[in-house]
């Protein structure tokens, strides 16, 4: 009995200790393959795990381990985190559950009471939580950031980030960096003035705010005119990356507002549709690169920045790989933001190419018109918020791609608080010409396509790649599939019966590799069967 008590105490002691997610632990998240500690599995944004139990030869034996059904009718876009045997999942609109990662049984649930009127352009969704110390952090569609006790789900602090009544909302998974929680904002369809914030994890006090739209007199303000900057958009609704060596937070910004009519905002509209690199301690801008100056097509730069150190033209260089919604794949210098390379990865009919400094060379007649302008890529882009993956074994860049076009229309619209501020509405999907989707592997140095796995429909699911040389992806048709990372050959698929609009993860469940993804209104997990 005494022995048993001692053992029990030891086990409890261990689990208490290991439940502490320190910054040091997050710095090595990508190597900690038993867990999935951040949105992208590590600060570099690779969505890669070195786990290799599931390989091309045995992936056909993947079987469902458990399913967790959510009580929601909203779209599920969450990426779960798995930390020391506990899975933390956000449920739309803004709830959080902690599950036993071995059984899917629930430890606790945080249910947020929301006001009646919520302004979210595209569904009351949430893409995941952050964990730091013994706390779980979630952003809410009424634009609050909430700290929860990781053991009980109790609210530790609850802070208003912005006013939800003016179209602000939080759908992004926050990112824990040092002792801070970095959190973006949604509202590019409501004429918000975008920003990226950092809050003290301990208290909820705001450490800094970077406005993605500079006010008059600030650098970049000359790219706006009149009062357009006040309603200029530039949201930050997809989780960025962190370059620890340079102490830079690298994040993407969204479209200028209004989306499809730029008449009220002549100029380049910095820092919309840009990669921004901020000093993590101060939030000061270190560098930026704008993918689409004066965007009138809603081509947000809301992709996960993929940070890779590799040789570039004969010398080692810190790089950012970025496949943008505008159908171009880019390589940037991570120390300066300088454009190094760009090439289309999908059909596009809007640019002849890119200048030496990366500025697009626009073709004529591409702007929206009252009658409508047909253009590739479509409004939802050649890719979007769902995550790409970089695999250090194959040295390939993987992503989900859309091949389709839209009709871009232009209308007139004045700003009014809490209403959509978009400047007409395009025909996003053409029923007679729906296009198709694909998973593609690119050589990140050249932008060349190495392989393609074609899909009938356009996917809203991200990709994960592994040490087992597999790429996991999902489709709107409800299939989760595993592809050979070197050839794109399908080695396994499973119909989950619901649209997949989320990113896959992998981790160890009692020493066995597991895969998890949200599909329909549920979380599915898989392990190898006998």
């Amino acid at each position: 009995m005494i022995i048993r008590c001692a053992l029990l105490a030891g086990v409890l002691g261990l689990s208490t200790l290991s439940a502490q997610v320190t910054f040091e632990r997050l710095l090595h998240a990508a190597e900690d393959n038993a867990n999935w500690l951040t949105y992208s599995g590590g600060y570099r944004g690779w969505r890669y795990s070195s786990l290799e139990q599931v390989r091309r030869e045995n992936a056909g034996r993947l079987r469902i381990k458990w399913v967790y059904q959510m009580a929601t009718t909203q779209m599920v876009e969450t990426t779960p985190l798995v930390i020391d045997g506990v899975m933390y999942v956000s449920e739309p609109p803004s709830n959080v559950v902690a599950l036993d990662a071995a059984t899917g049984r629930r430890y606790w649930r945080y249910q947020r009471s929301l006001p009646d009127r919520i302004n979210v352009c595209c569904g009351q969704v949430n893409r995941g939580v952050a964990v730091l110390g013994d706390r779980v952090f979630v952003g809410t569609v009424d634009a609050h950031l909430v700290a929860l006790d990781a053991r009980t789900g109790a609210v530790l602090w609850d802070r208003a980030v912005a006013d939800y009544r003016t179209g602000h909302a939080i759908t992004v998974a926050p990112l824990a960096v040092k002792d801070m929680i970095v959190c973006g904002i949604s509202g590019g369809e409501y004429g918000i003035r975008g920003f990226l914030d950092a809050y003290e994890a301990a208290t909820g006090k705001r450490r800094w705010r970077f406005w993605t739209i500079p006010e008059p007199g600030q650098p970049g303000s000359q790219t706006w005119s009149g009062n357009a900057w006040k309603t200029g958009g530039g949201p930050t609704w997809v989780t960025g990356s962190y370059d620890a060596a340079q102490n830079l937070i690298i994040w993407g910004t969204g479209n200028p507002s209004p989306d499809w009519n730029g008449d009220s905002r002549p100029g380049d509209n910095l820092y919309t549709d840009s990669a921004i690199a901020l000093d993590a301690d101060t939030g000061k801008l270190n560098w930026y690169y704008q993918f689409v100056p004066h965007d009138v097509h809603d081509w947000d730069a809301v992709q996960v920045p993929v940070l890779v150190d590799d040789e570039w033209q004969g010398r080692p260089r810190k790089l950012v790989y970025w496949a943008h919604r505008n159908a171009f794949y880019y390589v940037l210098d991570r120390e300066t933001g300088k454009f190094l390379f760009g090439k289309p990865f999908a059909t596009q009919t809007w640019a002849r190419g890119l200048e030496a400094d990366g500025r697009p060379i626009r073709l004529p007649n591409i702007d929206p018109t009252p009658e409508g302008t047909y253009l590739w890529p479509g409004v939802q882009g050649a890719t979007n918020w769902y995550s790409p993956s970089y695999n250090p074994l194959t040295k390939l860049f993987y992503l989900a791609v859309w091949e389709n076009r839209s009709v871009y229309r232009k209308g007139e619209q004045e700003y009014s608080p809490g209403n959509r501020y978009i400047g007409s509405v395009p025909l996003i999907d053409l029923p007679e010409d729906p296009g198709h989707g694909a998973i593609r592997a690119l050589n990140p140095k050249t932008g060349e396509r190495v392989w393609e796995y074609r899909l009938q429909t356009k996917p809203w699911a991200g990709v994960l790649s592994t040490g087992g040389k597999l790429v996991f992806g999902g489709s709107d048709e409800g299939y989760l599939f595993a592809l050979d990372a070197e050839t794109g050959r399908e080695v396994w698929r499973q119909n989950l019966g619901g649209i997949i609009r989320a990113n896959p993860i992998t981790y160890l469940n009692h020493g066995r590799q597991a895969i998890a993804i949200a599909a329909g209104n549920a979380i599915f997990t898989f392990e190898l069967g006998e």
């Binding site: 009127r117 302004n119 209308g411 007409s424 074609r454 009938q456």
Partner: protein, 253 residues
């Protein structure tokens, strides 16, 4: 007695709703409403309210109430349990949208033909072989039981003369040969990356794996013959008048 019942019925209505009438109905209001509609409503309800992802708003009948007060409420606060969101404009601006929506169905062009003669033509020309009306007829074309509610006379006329002008996805035809070389065809009901589901022209359902299929193609053409030249203009008007008369017997859903 009748008066009394009416009074009771009126009293049972929420008082303010019973009195509400759109105060913004000038031509300028309609034009302003059209502008707002185009920005906010057209992605689901169509550029001219003809419907799409959301219902047709040009038929003058609305699933969630057809009074001015109903429209004001549904646009202002959205419709719970549907994809219809709230639009946070002031009441004046919303009334203009209501005025615009009303204008879409204000003066439906009444068909000039004779519905009774049209009904006889409908049978004589063999339409029921493929089209069903109140449970009678085939299933290889759209059910026309309430077609007069959802389609304007001009649309019906166009469909008769030029059936390929608009062919909705359930009537697209998929054709291919299987790995034994046998030809298949039918209405494409569904497909994904790996499988296809279709209804053949003998009304049998099929689901097949796509791998191994050859010459797989989807034709977006109608199987209905054109009546251009086959019917006099008067006969065509009669047929359109009959189709326009096909409506559900009750009130709005």
């Amino acid at each position: 007695m009748r008066m009394l019942i009416l009074l009771i019925a009126a009293a049972a209505l929420p008082g303010q709703e019973a009195e509400v009438r759109n105060p913004r109905t000038s031509l300028a209001d309609v034009a302003a409403g059209a502008k707002t509609f185009r920005s906010h409503c057209s992605p689901c309800h169509g550029l001219n309210g003809e419907g799409g992802r959301g219902p047709n708003l040009a038929a003058g009948r609305f699933y969630h109430g057809s009074s001015d007060a109903d429209l004001l409420r549904n646009i202002s606060t959205g419709i719970p349990g549907t994809e219809m969101p709230a639009l946070f404009y002031n009441a004046d601006r919303i009334w203009q949208i209501v005025a615009y929506i009303r204008s879409l169905s204000a003066a439906p062009a009444a068909p000039v033909g004779d519905p009774a003669r049209g009904k006889a033509l409908f049978s004589a020309k063999g339409c029921p072989q493929c089209h069903r009306v109140r449970g009678e007829g085939g299933r290889l074309g759209p059910d026309l039981t309430t077609i007069g509610e959802s389609r304007a006379p001009a649309y019906l006329r166009q469909s008769l003369l030029d059936p390929d002008a608009v062919v909705l996805p359930p009537y697209w035809v998929v054709r291919f040969r299987d790995d034994s070389g046998r030809a298949h065809e039918g209405f494409l009901l569904n497909e994904d990356t790996y499988t296809v589901q279709f209804l053949d022209f003998q009304s049998r359902l099929h689901s097949m794996e796509k791998s191994g299929l050859q010459d797989y193609r989807v034709e977006k053409k109608s199987r209905m013959p054109s009546f251009r030249g086959a019917l006099s203009d008067a006969a065509l008007q009669d047929l359109v008048a009959y189709l326009s008369s096909l409506r559900s017997p009750g009130g709005s859903r």
